[in-house]
């Protein structure tokens, strides 16, 4: 397995909510202004800390969905039922609110600009969030396979259509709907399977890196399928969003 160091920046920094954007009924993007933020590597996350008036603190990790840039970043948060932090960020936070972050964090599930290999990105549900940063920053051939239950569960729908049409490096986006497909969709709802993967993936002998992110069951299934259709396990990087009560 390859190794990579991650740069520091581990003090808590104040962040101000600059804007919020609803992505679905239960997910929202928060645009955060952070003085002195120097950017990130697509795929990385930040720790977020919320402090109540009496000093009680809660911490969670959230993936960065924006392309790297200075002084500003975006995190996209899916509200977890009965969660402590995510419902606040999705339903309560407003522009002008303050919170703290530290990061960027993570040195494995990252697509470095210096890596020339084509990337196959496969996301399930809110697992698309770190992949969205990779899509937005893509400078090398990139294909995204995005599985959601229905169109209304899909994050970044408009931005993905734009990325597909206008990026400097075209990003090919394929949606898979497992329960409800859009009106007029050419295929019935179906789970992601070997056929779809083989159609979207590059040929097995290509030197491709795959990034798979989503709920555990999804990631397990997809990573197994990739190995089955001939991908080198060493070139499959995974990140899993379990139901963690966040």
């Amino acid at each position: 397995m390859a190794r990579a160091a991650v740069p520091g920046g581990l003090t808590w920094q104040p962040a101000t909510v600059a804007a919020t954007r609803a992505e679905t009924a239960t997910a929202r993007t928060l645009v955060l202004d952070v003085d002195g933020w120097t950017g990130h590597v697509p795929g990385q996350h930040v720790d977020v800390r919320l402090t109540a008036p009496d000093g009680y603190m809660a911490h969670r990790s959230y993936s960065i969905s924006s392309a790297p840039g200075p002084d500003r970043l975006e995190v996209t948060v899916q509200a977890v039922i009965d969660g402590e932090v995510s419902p606040h960020l999705v339903e309560v936070a407003e522009p002008g609110d303050h919170l703290e972050i530290r990061g960027p964090l993570g040195g494995w599930f990252v697509r470095r600009p210096s890596d020339p290999r084509p990337a196959l990105l496969i996301g399930g549900g809110s697992g698309v969030v770190p992949l969205m940063s990779m899509v937005r920053a893509a400078t090398n051939p990139t294909r995204l396979l995005y599985s959601t239950r229905s169109p209304s569960d899909a994050l970044f729908t408009a931005d993905l259509a734009t990325a597909q049409a206008t990026g400097n490096t075209p990003v090919a986006v394929t949606h898979v709907y497992t329960r409800v497909a859009p009106h007029g969709w050419p295929a019935p709802p179906r789970r992601l399977d070997a056929d779809i993967l083989a159609r979207v993936a590059w040929p097995r002998d290509a030197d491709v890196v795959a990034f798979v992110c989503g709920p555990t069951g999804f990631v397990e299934t997809v990573a197994d399928l990739l190995v089955e259709i001939g991908h080198n396990p060493a070139n499959i990087r995974t990140e899993r969003f379990g139901p963690t009560g966040g």
Binding site: R3, A5, G8, L10, V92, I236
Partner: protein, 198 residues
């Protein structure tokens, strides 16, 4: 100076057993870096290798015939979830090292699939660590590290290497997979040693 987040109340729980910055979950989330290796029990083998290259090995039948413990422990993942009262069955590392002659101070755990993690030897002895092969009374599922994983509950759970293949005893410390990818070398949740610079 504290940064107060408007409108945030938080949810207090009885959390004296919760290390700093952690929250409690009743699920068993999964964290790993790549595909789950599948290892057949007929090809499975566990090895202890000393600093002089001496190997002790156990087949699955030999390993599961060793005296086993049934620890119930709290586990803490660096991604901030903690799970209380998890029940395991496994062989104490003390048992595996009982007949091993070594001057080593460090251990690198090696997994099927290539994962590694490093731990000081004294952090694995005296009933602090097991090679576990059952969880909640059932064989340990591959997704959670089966056939057998290291279980070191007093450290962040990435130190509890899944799909364990070998314990390499060393005179010097050799950082493992996450330890060279920005995570802390020691990983003590009570000292909140998450990342390199913590």
């Amino acid at each position: 100076m504290a940064v107060i987040t408007r409108g945030f109340g938080g949810r207090r729980r009885d959390d004296a057993d919760l290390p700093p910055g952690q929250y409690r979950t009743d699920d068993f989330p999964v964290l790993s870096a790549g595909p789950t290796p599948r290892i057949g029990l007929d090809e499975w083998e566990l090895a202890v290798v000393t600093e002089t290259g001496e190997r002790s090995t156990w087949s699955w039948a030999e390993f599961t015939a060793l005296p086993a413990d049934e620890p119930t422990v709290d586990i803490h993942c660096v991604t901030r979830w903690s799970k209380f009262g998890t029940s395991w069955r496994g062989v104490s590392v003390d048992t595996l090292l009982a007949d091993v002659d070594t001057a080593a101070e460090y251990v690198v755990a090696h997994s099927y699939g290539g994962y590694t993690t490093n731990i000081p030897l004294e952090g694995l002895l005296d009933g602090q660590a097991w090679v576990a092969y059952e969880f909640d009374g059932a064989p340990l599922a591959p997704v959670h590290g089966g056939p057998a994983r290291l279980l070191v509950p007093h450290l962040y759970f990435w130190k509890s290497a899944k799909w364990l293949r070998a314990l390499e005893l060393r005179l010097d410390d050799e950082p493992g997979f996450w330890e060279t990818a920005g995570y802390h070398n020691d990983g003590d949740p009570w000292r909140e040693q998450r990342y390199l610079e913590d």
